[in-house]
């Protein structure tokens, strides 16, 4: 399955079915991100589909 993450196309290996799986795969902490899929804020437990476009928005700020 191919999806877009922050504008970059990536091919997902077998076994990655949800957004949460993807975040673990790319080493991101779900506590520090809000995930937007095809323009909508989405729960990390939701499944990914071919051609989905994801934005990973940093929820934490420094300073």
């Amino acid at each position: 399955m191919k999806i877009l993450v922050d504008g970059k196309e990536i091919s997902l290996p077998e076994g990655i079915g949800t957004i949460n799986d993807l975040l673990r795969h790319v080493g991101k902490n779900r506590e520090e991100l809000v995930v937007v899929v095809n323009g909508e804020i989405t729960i990390e437990e939701n499944p990914l589909h071919e051609g989905d476009s994801l934005k990973l928005i940093r929820a934490v700020s420094g300073g």
Binding site: E31, V34, I41, I43, P47, V60, S61, G62, G63
Partner: protein, 311 residues
């Protein structure tokens, strides 16, 4: 695997892992605004007729705070007066100022601004280039002082800031790490000294991620720029540590907050002698407060480095 839905039947946008609740866009907004109102009431943060200064930076926390307080102001019987501090950070602060101005315009609120440059004759960029302290030390101490001073001069009764649950849990953990139990007692910082305005933190029981979801869900104009000095910050390491813990054990940040409340209720502060600063009259544990000490240090340092001042 199927999509999750809110109890009302709409597609869910958020799942609170520490409680298992699932929310759609509308139910999330209702939950969030109710949570802020409950926090204000729980800690008796406001009284009817009060003028509330709201510290605003244009970031997600303070912008969300201003918009939610604006929805609640009639119920609470208070008026809102946003205050912005321009630290003088090139390439960072400008987008925050523009976002804050846009929020104030859209809500019909008048924005009061003050700056490090007016107060010390130097921007934070200049201070960090020449001074001995880390930029976050100058920024934290001087911004707090300037917010307080501007709010008092503007006739405010209270000062509201956008600190969220994560900020509070980080502050508590940093005090534990430095063994500073006295500071744990002083964390809410409310004194009866007329030179220190009572502070309120209506987002202090809401996780940072939920604040960002509210800002995005309501399409608020926010600055997403990261402060260039944040990487120098000890807090950043504590934040990453706590978020790693929270990912494994949802609710750990709430436990830190409730643990601190139990601790301060069961231990008396060791009687730190709170005095009045000999320069600015603000409450302090020493003869001269940290802000005045830093301001004096800046004058000496800048003078030695031959960097001109406005006066």
């Amino acid at each position: 695997v199927k999509n999750l839905f809110c109890g009302c039947g709409e597609k869910a946008i958020y799942r609170r892992r520490y409680s298992g609740q699932v929310f759609c866009r509308n139910c999330f907004n209702q939950y969030f605004e109710r949570r802020v109102l409950e926090t204000i009431r729980k800690y008796r943060m406001t009284e009817r007729g009060e003028r509330i200064g709201v510290g605003i930076s244009g970031g997600k926390d303070s912008t969300t705070l201003l918009h939610v307080l604006n929805k609640l102001k009639n119920r609470l019987g208070v008026s809102l007066h946003p205050i912005l501090i321009d630290e003088g950070i090139q390439g960072y602060r400008k987008s925050g100022i523009e976002a804050a101005e846009e929020s104030c315009r859209s809500l019909g609120l008048e924005l009061t601004t003050a700056s490090f440059n007016q107060e010390t004759s130097h921007t934070l960029d200049e201070l960090q280039r020449t001074g001995d302290q880390k930029p976050c030390t100058y920024c934290g101490v001087l911004r707090r002082k300037l917010l307080n001073q501007t709010a008092i001069e503007s006739g405010m009764d209270k000062l509201a800031t956008g600190h969220n649950l994560d900020d509070e849990a980080q502050a508590i953990m940093m005090n534990y790490l430095s063994g500073d139990i006295e500071r744990l007692h002083r964390l809410n910082g409310n004194t009866t000294n007329p030179n220190m305005l009572k502070r309120m933190k209506p987002l202090s029981l809401i996780p940072e991620k939920e604040v960002m979801i509210y800002a995005l869900n309501n399409k608020l104009t926010i600055s997403a720029d990261e402060c260039p000095y944040a990487k120098h910050n000890h807090r950043t390491k504590v934040r990453e540590f706590l978020n790693a813990l929270e990912a494994d054990q949802p609710g750990v940040k709430f436990s830190i907050i409730s643990g601190r409340e139990k601790l301060i209720n069961s231990t008396a502060p060791r009687g730190t002698n709170i005095q009045t600063c000999q320069v600015c009259m603000a409450p302090t544990a020493r003869n001269i407060c940290r802000a005045c000490e830093l301001t004096e240090e800046i004058k000496i340092k800048m003078s030695a480095a031959n960097i001109g001042t406005a006066d």
